[in-house]
C-alpha cells in the first residue's frame, strides 16, 4: 500500500517539476537574449518573446519533405521527451530528484544522448545536405563533450560518494560544503561543456543561419511549425537543465532538505539567483568571445575534457 503511495507521490512530484521547468525554460532563453542585447546597447526582445515564438510555431501547420519517413517525425518528439525525462532526474528545489530510484548520473547522460541521437538520425532522414552536415558536426562535438560531461559529473560523485544526483546533493549538504581544487577544475570543464552542448557562441551561434558555421541550426533546418517548436522548447529546457545541474553540483547551498514551505521558498529564491548568475556568465562568455572556427572547436572541447580528467585525477592524489 505505502509502496504504491510512494510511487504515486514520486510521479506527481516528477510531473510537477517537469511542468515547472518546461514553463520556465523559454523565459531563461529570452533572458539570456535580453542580457546579451543590453550588453550591446540594444533594447532586446520583451521577456515573454520565447512564449510568443513557441505559440506562433505551434499554431502553424507542419511542413515535411515528401521523402521524409517516420524517423523524421519521431525525431523532435523523442528529443523533447528525452529532455523532459531528464528533468525528473535532477534535484531542483528539494535535495531529491523526483525519479531518483530510476537512476542517477549515467541515466541522465544516457537520456540526453538518446535525444541527441534521435535528432541526428532525423536530420539525416530527409537526405538534405544541411541536415547531414549539421548532424555530423553535432555528433563530432558530442563525441568529445559527453566523456567530459561524465568525467566532470564523476568528480562530484566521487566527492559525495553517490552516483545518484539526489543522494549526491544530500551528502554534500550534510557534510557541509568544503572546497577541493578539483571542484574548480571540474566546474571550469563542465561550464565549457554546457556552452558547447547548448550551442552557445564560442562553439555554435544560436542566432545564425550562415551555412558555413551553423551546427545545431543546420540539423533542424528542415523542421517547421510544431516540430520546430518541440525542438526549440526542448533545447531551451536542456539549457535550463544544464545550468540547474551546475547549481546542484557546485553551489548546493540553499537547496531545501525538508519539505517545509519556508525552506522551499528560500530554495526557490536561491535557485533563481544562482541560475541567473550562471546565465549571466554564459551571456558574458557569448558577448566577449568570437565564434571559433569549426576545426578549432574540438580543441576547445578537448581542453574541457582535460580539465575534467584532471579534476578526477586530483581527487585520487
Amino acid at each position: 500500500m505505502s509502496m504504491t503511495a510512494d510511487v504515486l507521490r514520486a510521479f506527481a512530484f516528477a510531473v510537477l517539476q517537469a511542468a515547472a521547468l518546461l514553463a520556465l525554460a523559454p523565459l531563461l532563453k529570452t533572458a539570456i537574449k535580453k542580457m546579451k542585447a543590453r550588453l550591446q546597447n540594444r533594447q532586446g526582445p520583451p521577456l515573454l518573446q520565447g512564449y510568443y515564438d513557441l505559440a506562433k510555431l505551434l499554431r502553424k501547420e507542419p511542413v515535411r519533405s515528401e521523402t521524409a519517413s517516420w524517423v523524421f517525425v519521431a525525431g523532435p518528439r523523442v528529443y523533447f521527451a528525452a529532455a523532459v525525462a531528464a528533468t525528473t532526474l535532477v534535484p531542483v528545489l528539494v535535495a531529491a530528484a523526483p525519479l531518483e530510484m530510476a537512476g542517477g548520473i549515467l541515466l541522465l547522460v544516457g537520456t540526453l544522448a538518446l535525444g541527441r541521437f534521435a535528432l541526428a538520425t532525423a536530420a539525416l532522414d530527409t537526405g538534405s545536405a544541411f541536415g547531414g552536415m549539421g548532424a555530423s558536426r553535432d555528433m563530432t562535438i558530442a563525441a568529445l563533450a559527453e566523456p567530459a560531461l561524465l568525467l566532470g559529473l564523476f568528480t562530484s560523485a566521487l566527492a559525495a560518494g553517490s552516483l545518484n544526483l539526489g543522494g549526491l546533493v544530500r551528502n554534500m549538504l550534510q557534510h557541509g560544503v568544503t572546497f577541493h581544487p578539483s571542484d574548480l577544475l571540474a566546474f571550469a570543464g563542465l561550464f565549457m561543456i554546457v556552452i558547447a552542448e547548448t550551442g552557445r557562441i564560442p562553439v555554435d551561434n544560436p542566432a545564425t543561419h550562415l551555412e558555413l558555421t551553423m551546427i545545431h541550426e543546420a540539423m533542424v533546418l528542415e523542421y517547421a511549425g510544431p516540430d520546430l517548436a518541440l525542438v526549440e522548447w526542448a533545447s531551451a529546457l536542456k539549457e535550463l537543465l544544464y545550468l540547474t545541474l551546475l547549481v546542484d553540483l557546485f553551489m548546493p547551498v540553499g537547496i531545501a532538505t525538508t519539505a517545509a514551505p519556508a525552506a522551499i521558498v528560500v530554495a526557490l529564491l536561491a535557485w533563481i539567483g544562482k541560475v541567473l548568475v550562471l546565465a549571466m556568465a554564459v551571456t558574458i562568455t557569448e558577448s566577449t568571445n568570437a565564434k571559433l572556427r569549426l576545426f578549432r572547436v574540438p580543441e576547445l572541447v578537448s581542453i574541457s575534457l582535460g580539465l575534467a580528467f584532471l579534476a578526477l585525477a586530483i581527487r585520487f592524489l
Binding site: T178, F179, H180, A188, P298, S302, I303, G306, A313, L317
Partner: protein, 215 residues
C-alpha cells in the same frame, strides 16, 4: 572559510596556467597571467588576514600592483607595438600539449604528497598546485616559439615558486621579497627589449630563428 578561499584561489591559478597552454592568442594569454597573479595576491592576502601576518599584505599589494597590472600592461603594449598577436606554430599542437600538461599535473600532485608539510590539508593542495604550475611553465617554455609566450612561461614558474613561498613557508623577509619583485620587473623589461631586438632583426618573434645564420 579561509582554507576554502586559499584552495579556490590556488585551483584558479592552476586552471589559468592550463588555459594558457590551450591558448593561441597572445593577449588572452597575458590576461590569463594577470588573473593568475591576482589570485596569487588573494592567496597572500587571505593568509595575511587569517594568520595576522601583516607584512604579507605588503606582499599581496606588490603582487597585484606589479604582476597583475604593470607587467600585463607592459607586455600588451609590446605586442601592440610589434603587431604580432598569435602563437602560430608551437612545437607541439594544443591537444598534445594539454595531454602532457595533464601528466605533469598528476606528477606534481603526486610528488607534493612526499613533502612533510604536503601530506594533507591545504598545504598539500598549495604545494601540488605550485609544483604542477612549475612543470607546466617549464614545459611551455620549451615547446613555444614566440618570445612573449616564453616570458609568460617564465613568469608562471615564478608565480609557482612564490605560491609555495607565501603559502607554505613561514615567509620571507621583506627585503628578499622586494628584491624578487625588482628582479621580476627587471627581467620583464630586459626581455621586452630583447623581444624588440629579435623582431627588429628577424621580423618575427620566433626564437627558433635565432639559431640560423643570417647574412
Amino acid at each position: 572559510m579561509i582554507n576554502d578561499l586559499l584552495i579556490l584561489s590556488a585551483a584558479g591559478m592552476l586552471v589559468s596556467a592550463y588555459l594558457m597552454v590551450g591558448q593561441k592568442a597572445l593577449v588572452t594569454a597575458i590576461r590569463l597571467y594577470g588573473i593568475q597573479s591576482l589570485l596569487l595576491g588573494m592567496v597572500a592576502a587571505a593568509i595575511a588576514a587569517s594568520e595576522s601576518r601583516h607584512e604579507l599584505f605588503v606582499t599581496a599589494a606588490i603582487t597585484v600592483g606589479l604582476k597583475a597590472i604593470l607587467i600585463p600592461w607592459f607586455l600588451i603594449r609590446i605586442i601592440d607595438r610589434i603587431g604580432i598577436h598569435r602563437e602560430i606554430e608551437p612545437f607541439l599542437n594544443v591537444p598534445t600539449s594539454l595531454l602532457v600538461c595533464l601528466g605533469l599535473t598528476v606528477v606534481g600532485y603526486r610528488v607534493s604528497a612526499g613533502f612533510p608539510e604536503g601530506a594533507e590539508g591545504v598545504s598539500h593542495h598549495l604545494i601540488g598546485v605550485a609544483l604542477s604550475m612549475l612543470l607546466i611553465g617549464l614545459f611551455l617554455m620549451v615547446t613555444r616559439k614566440k618570445a612573449i609566450t616564453q616570458i609568460l612561461a617564465l613568469l608562471t614558474v615564478e608565480n609557482a615558486v612564490f605560491l609555495v613561498a607565501v603559502g607554505v613557508t613561514p615567509g620571507m623577509p621583506l627585503v628578499v621579497e622586494l628584491g624578487i619583485a625588482f628582479d621580476v620587473i627587471l627581467a620583464v623589461l630586459v626581455l621586452g627589449i630583447l623581444v624588440h631586438r629579435i623582431v627588429d632583426r628577424f621580423e618575427s618573434m620566433d626564437v627558433s630563428r635565432l639559431s640560423k645564420l643570417k647574412g
